[in-house]
C-alpha cells in the first residue's frame, strides 16, 4: 500500500467513513507493516488533539453557565455508567467532582454500600456538587436496584441486604425510605434501636431485631416477617401502632395487620451472592423491518462443518438477496363497506348491486344469505326497507348468522384486519324501535377454507340503546390474510329478550393493507423444508437435506435460505436462517447485512450473540439500524407476535416525544431517563419468547423500560397500559400489570417485579419451559406500548 493510500484509509477510519473492504485492507497493512502502525498512531493522536483543541476553543468562545439540565444529564450519565462498574460508581462521581469542579465540600456519609457483581443499579445524590466520597450514601441519596443485590451498612451496627427490584432514599442514619423492594434488616446493637424503615404506607420501627420486608412495586400491601426481637408498626403521620414479635409474619395494610401469613418460602438473603445470572438482555433492536431489500454476504471462514471444512461464504450480491414483507399501511383503511341503500331482498338473500367500498380483496360475492342463529335454516326478511336488512328471527330464537367472503386468491395484497363497525337497530314485530329489557351482541369468526377457524371475537351482551347504535369489534388479534386460502368472516347477531329483531343497517370492515409485488414458490418455504425437493417424496438415500459428505474434506452444502433468495416475504420471528446438509459450527469471520433500501449495513462478527447455530441451522438476528427520528413496521427477532411491531428511533421533535435529550448527536446521545439504547419498539399486541426452563428455588427478577410518549402528557387514555408476565405453557407464574404510565409524558422509566420459584403452581415443575410475555392492556387504545429494554436475571438460594 502506498503512503498516500495508507493516509487516506486511516483518515476514512477516523472519520467513521471507511467501507468494510477498505477496513480489511487497512487492517492487513497495520498488522504487516510496523511503519504503517506508527503512521496510524500519529494520525490518531492528531485526531484526538484536534477534538481537544476544538473543545477548548468552544469553551473559550462560550463560557456560559452550565444549564442545570446539562448537569443533570451529566449526572445521569455518570450514574448509569457507575452501575456497570459496581462499587466504583460513587467513587467516580466524587472523583469527577473533585477533579473538575474543584469542590472540597462533601456531604457526610451516612451509610456504606456494596453490590453483588453484575447488579444493575442507579445511585444519585440530592446534591451532586457535594456528593459523598467513596462507596457511600448521604442524606437524600437515592438508590434504584433493577437487578441484583445491595448490602447497606448503617452506623450503630445496622445492616440491610436488599434484593431487586428495589428503590430507596436514605433520609438519615436511622431512617431508610423504601418505595418497594425485598430486604432483610439486622439491628445488632442497642444503639441501633429505633432504626426505621419508611414505606409508602407505614413506618416500621425497630425495637432490637432482625426483620424482613417484601413490598412489590405498585402494591399497597407489604409483607413483614419478624425473625428476632420485635418491631412496631406506626402510621406515616407518627401514630404508634401494634408491636409484632419474633417468628410472626403478617400482611400489612397501612399500620393495620390485614392477616397472618406463612413465613417466606424463599428465605431472605443474608449476604451478597457471588454473581447475578442475566437470562435475557434484550434491547429490542434486532429484527426485520417491512419493505426493505436486503443483501447478505459473509466471509468464507465463518461457517464450517464440524471437521473444519469451510463453507465457501457469500461474496456477491445475488446469492442471497430478498425483500422483506412490504410495509402495511400506517392507517387502517376500509376493506369492505356498504350501507345497503341499493339492496334487493328475496327470501333469505340480500343482493347488492355493488359494494360501496371494496379494497384489497378479490371481487367478493354481492349477496348476503341469512340463517337462523347457529343453524342452516334460512331466515327471511321481516320488513323490506331500503337501507336496512331486517331479518325475521328474533333474538330469543337465536338471532341470525350471515357471512362475508374475503378471497385474496389473485389479489396482490396482504390484509391485517383491524376492526368491524356494524350499525344496528332493534325492532318490534311492527318495525318500531324497542329496547326495554333487551340485550344483545355481535360476534365475529374468521374461518379459512384450509385452516378452519382462525379466531373468534366474542364480546358479552350489552343493553340495547334506543334507535340505531354502532357495535365495533376489535379484529386485530386475527391473523393476517394472504393468498394462501379463502376466508369467510361470519357475522352473528345474538341476544336475550323476546319478540324483537335486530336490523342490520350499515357495516364497515377496516384493516391494514400491504401490497405484494409478486408471488414466489419460495415464499412459503419455511426453514427445514428444502427448496431443492420435497422430503416426503424423496427416499432418504436421495434426500438432499440429509446428504452426508462423501469425503471428510467436503465443505458443508447450503440447502435452504430463509427468507429464500429473491423472495418477497418475511415471517413473524424477524430472523434469517441457513440450512446446511450437515451440522455446522461458527468460526472467526464476519457476516454483512446490507439494507439496500436505506443504505445501511451491519456487520456481525464471530462471537456475537446475534449469531447462533443449532445442528444444521444457523440463525441470524439482524440489527435494525434506524436513523434518528425514523420508524418502520416489522418483526422482532426471536419473539412470537401475531402482528408487526414498530421499530423506532425516537426524536424529540414532538411527533412522538418532545424532549431535546432525544437528539442523537453529541452531547445528548439520544437517551433520556432509563433508556439503554437509541431504539424502541411500539407494540399493540402481545409479544412472547421463551427464556429457558424453570430452575427450582430461585428468585427471578424482570425489569422493563417503558417509554411514555408526548401524547400521554395531553391525553391520559393514550397510554395503553401494560402486563408483563412470566409463564410456563398456559400457566401464569407472576405478572406486573398497570394502566398507569410509569412516568410523565416524554419520559422513559423502568418497572419490574420478582418471582420466587420455590413454590410452583400445580402442574408446573422445575425444568418446565419458562416464557416472558409483554402485552398492552388496551389493544384498541390509540397509543402504542413503547419498550426500550428488558432484562431478566435469576438468583439461586445460596446466601439465604
Amino acid at each position: 500500500m502506498t503512503q498516500s493510500a495508507l493516509q487516506h484509509h486511516i483518515q476514512l477510519l477516523l472519520d467513521d467513513e471507511i467501507s468494510t473492504d477498505e477496513f480489511a485492507v487497512l487492517e492487513t497493512e497495520l498488522l504487516e507493516n510496523p511503519g504503517a502502525l506508527e503512521t496510524y498512531r500519529a494520525y490518531a493522536r492528531l485526531h484526538c488533539g484536534l477534538h481537544r483543541h476544538c473543545d477548548i476553543q468552544q469553551m473559550i468562545k462560550s463560557p456560559q453557565v452550565v444549564p442545570i439540565d446539562r448537569v443533570l444529564s451529566l449526572q445521569r450519565k455518570f450514574v448509569i455508567k457507575a452501575s456497570l462498574l459496581g462499587a466504583a460508581a460513587t467513587i467516580l462521581l466524587s472523583a469527577v467532582i473533585m477533579f473538575f469542579l474543584q469542590t472540597t465540600d462533601h456531604q457526610p456519609s451516612l451509610a456504606r454500600f456494596q453490590v453483588a457483581p453484575g447488579s444493575d443499579f442507579t445511585l444519585s445524590h440530592s446534591d451532586e456538587s457535594k456528593s459523598p466520597v467513596g462507596d457511600t450514601m448521604a442524606e437524600g441519596s437515592r438508590l434504584v436496584v433493577r437487578h441484583g443485590v445491595v448490602e447497606l451498612k448503617f452506623p450503630h451496627d445496622v445492616r440491610a441486604v436488599i434484593e431487586a427490584p428495589a428503590e430507596m432514599i436514605l433520609r438519615d442514619d436511622r431512617t431508610l425510605e423504601v418505595s418497594y423492594g425485598r430486604a432483610l434488616f439486622q439491628v445488632k446493637s442497642e444503639a441501633g434501636r429505633g432504626f426505621t424503615v419508611v414505606t409508602p404506607h407505614q413506618r416500621i420501627v425497630d425495637l432490637g431485631t432482625a426483620f424482613g420486608i417484601d413490598s412489590q412495586q405498585g402494591s399497597d400491601k407489604i409483607e413483614l416477617h419478624v425473625l428476632k426481637g420485635s418491631v412496631r408498626i406506626d402510621t406515616n403521620e407518627g401514630d404508634k401502632g401494634e408491636i409484632i414479635k419474633a417468628n410472626r409474619s403478617v400482611l400489612l395494610a397501612g399500620k393495620k395487620i390485614q392477616r397472618e401469613i406463612a413465613p417466606p418460602s424463599l428465605g431472605f438473603l443474608r449476604q451478597l451472592p457471588s454473581k447475578i445470572d442475566m437470562l435475557l438482555n434484550e434491547e429490542f433492536d434486532h429484527g426485520i423491518p417491512n419493505g426493505q431489500n436486503y443483501i447478505i454476504r459473509m466471509d468464507p471462514t465463518i461457517i464450517s462443518d464440524l471437521a473444519g471444512n469451510n463453507f465457501q461464504g457469500i461474496d456477491d450480491d445475488t446469492t442471497w438477496n430478498f425483500n422483506s414483507s412490504p410495509a402495511f399501511s400506517t392507517y387502517a383503511t376500509t376493506i369492505l363497506a356498504d350501507n345497503f341503500s341499493d339492496v334487493v331482498k328475496v327470501d333469505n338473500t340480500a343482493s347488492l348491486v355493488a359494494w360501496d367500498t371494496v379494497n384489497g380483496i378479490d371481487t367478493p360475492a354481492t349477496s348476503l344469505a341469512f340463517f337462523k342463529g347457529g343453524t342452516t335454516t334460512a331466515a327471511k326478511f321481516h320488513n323490506v326497507t331500503a337501507g336496512e336488512i331486517d331479518v325475521n328471527n328474533n333474538m330469543t330464537a337465536g338471532g341470525w348468522d350471515t357471512s362475508f367472503l374475503l378471497d385474496l386468491k389473485d389479489s396482490t395484497a396482504l390484509i391485517k384486519l383491524s376492526s368491524i363497525a356494524v350499525d344496528l337497530r332493534l325492532t318490534s314485530n311492527t318495525g318500531n324501535a324497542q329496547t326495554s329489557g333487551k340485550s344483545s351482541r355481535v360476534t365475529v369468526e374468521l374461518v379459512g377454507n384450509i385452516s378452519g377457524s382462525l379466531g373468534k371475537i366474542e364480546p358479552g351482551n350489552r343493553a340495547c340503546p334506543t334507535g340505531v347504535y354502532t357495535s365495533t369489534l376489535d379484529l386485530s388479534s386475527l391473523p393476517t390474510l394472504d393468498g394462501s386460502e379463502t376466508y369467510t368472516l361470519h357475522l352473528k347477531a345474538r341476544g336475550t329478550g323476546s319478540g324483537h329483531h335486530k336490523s342490520l343497517k350499515n357495516f364497515e370492515l377496516k384493516g391494514f393493507i400491504a401490497t405484494v409485488s409478486a408471488s414466489s414458490p419460495a415464499l412459503h418455504a419455511p426453514i427445514g423444508v428444502p427448496i431443492l425437493g420435497d422430503p416426503s417424496k424423496t427416499n432418504s438415500a436421495n434426500d438432499p437435506t440429509q446428504a452426508t459428505s462423501d469425503r471428510e474434506d467436503s465443505p458443508p452444502v447450503l440447502i435452504a435460505l430463509h427468507p429464500a433468495d429473491n423472495s418477497n416475504k418475511t415471517d413473524p420471528g424477524g430472523q434469517l436462517k441457513m440450512l446446511f446438509n450437515e451440522p455446522i459450527k461458527l468460526n472467526p469471520g464476519r457476516m454483512f447485512i446490507k439494507n439496500v433500501t436505506d443504505g445501511s449495513e451491519s456487520t456481525l462478527v464471530f462471537g456475537s450473540r446475534q449469531l447462533s447455530v443449532d445442528g444444521r441451522v444457523m440463525t441470524i438476528n439482524p440489527p435494525t439500524v434506524l436513523k434518528d427520528g425514523s420508524r418502520k413496521l416489522g418483526w422482532l427477532a426471536g419473539w412470537e407476535s401475531n402482528s408487526p411491531i414498530i421499530f423506532l428511533n425516537p426524536r424529540g421533535d414532538g411527533k412522538c416525544y418532545s424532549h431535546e435529550g432525544l437528539q442523537d448527536d453529541s452531547p445528548t446521545r439520544g437517551l433520556i431517563g432509563s433508556m439503554r439504547s437509541h431504539g424502541m419498539v411500539g407494540i399493540r399486541q402481545g409479544i412472547r419468547r421463551g427464556i429457558g426452563t424453570i430452575t427450582a428455588d430461585s428468585c427471578y427478577t424482570v425489569s422493563t423500560t417503558i417509554g411514555v410518549g408526548a401524547s400521554s402528557a395531553k391525553a391520559k387514555n393514550s397510554f395503553p397500559g401494560y402486563t408483563i408476565r412470566l409463564s410456563s405453557g398456559d400457566t401464569e407464574l407472576a405478572k406486573l400489570t398497570s394502566n398507569t404510565p410509569p412516568g410523565p409524558g416524554n419520559s422513559v422509566s423502568t418497572v419490574g417485579f420478582s418471582w420466587d420459584s420455590s413454590i410452583l403452581p400445580d402442574g408446573v415443575h422445575p425444568g418446565d419451559p419458562l416464557a416472558i410475555e409483554i402485552t398492552p392492556n388496551q389493544t384498541s387504545s390509540p397509543g402504542y406500548l413503547y419498550l426500550n429494554a428488558l432484562r431478566i436475571s435469576v438468583l439461586d438460594q445460596s446466601g439465604r
Binding site: 510496523p34 488533539g49 484536534l50 456497570l84
Partner: protein, 174 residues
C-alpha cells in the same frame, strides 16, 4: 480498598491523573478509532484508576499503570462493539497496538504544537477543521453554507490533516 492515601500522596495521585488525561484519551482513541464511546471508556478508566489509587506506588510509571487499566476498559468496549456488529479491529491488531504504545515518553506537548500549527492554517482551513471537530457542527452543514459538496470538503480536510501532522512533527522535533 486498602488503606487510604495520605493527603500529600493523594494530591500527587490526582495531579498525575489530571496531567495524563490527554495521553490516556489519545491512547483510547488509537484503540477504538471512530467509536462514539471514547468518553465513556475514559470515564470508566478514571473510575477504576480512582478506585485502585492505593494499588499504585508513587514513583513508578503512572502512564504504564493507567494504560494497563485503560486497556481492560477498551477490551470491554471492544467486545460490546463487536457484539453490536460494528466494524472493529481484530483482537490481534488491538493487542499489537496496545503492546507497542510507548509509555516511557516525556510529557506530551502535542496540544501546544497543535495550537501553534493551527495558526498556520488559513481562515477557511481552520473553519473546515472546526466544522469537523466542534460539537454541534458538521462538514455537511459547512459544505451547505459554503455552497460546495461535502465530498470536496472531506478531501480538503484530509489534506489539512496531512499538513498539520507534518507541522506538529516538525514543531515537536525542534
Amino acid at each position: 480498598m486498602g488503606k487510604n492515601k495520605n493527603p500529600a500522596d493523594l494530591q500527587v495521585y490526582v495531579t498525575l491523573l489530571v496531567e495524563h488525561q490527554d495521553r490516556l484519551r489519545a491512547y483510547i482513541y488509537t484503540l477504538l478509532p471512530g467509536s462514539p464511546d471514547i468518553d465513556d471508556v475514559l470515564q470508566n478508566t478514571n473510575a477504576v484508576l480512582w478506585q485502585k489509587q492505593n494499588q499504585f506506588k508513587l514513583g513508578t510509571n503512572f502512564l504504564a499503570w493507567a494504560f494497563n487499566i485503560a486497556r481492560y476498559q477498551v477490551k470491554h468496549q471492544h467486545g460490546r462493539n463487536k457484539r453490536d456488529g460494528k466494524l472493529v479491529f481484530s483482537d490481534h491488531l488491538l493487542e499489537r497496538i496496545a503492546d507497542s504504545t510507548p509509555t516511557e515518553v516525556p510529557k506530551s506537548r502535542l496540544l501546544d504544537a497543535l495550537e501553534y500549527c493551527m495558526t498556520k492554517l488559513s481562515s477557511d482551513q481552520r473553519k473546515t477543521v472546526q466544522a469537523r471537530y466542534t460539537h454541534g457542527q458538521s462538514l455537511e452543514q459547512h459544505a451547505t453554507d459554503l455552497g460546495c459538496s461535502a465530498g470536496s470538503l472531506r478531501t480538503s480536510l484530509h489534506r489539512i490533516r496531512n499538513s498539520l501532522k507534518l507541522c506538529v512533527e516538525n514543531t515537536l522535533s525542534e
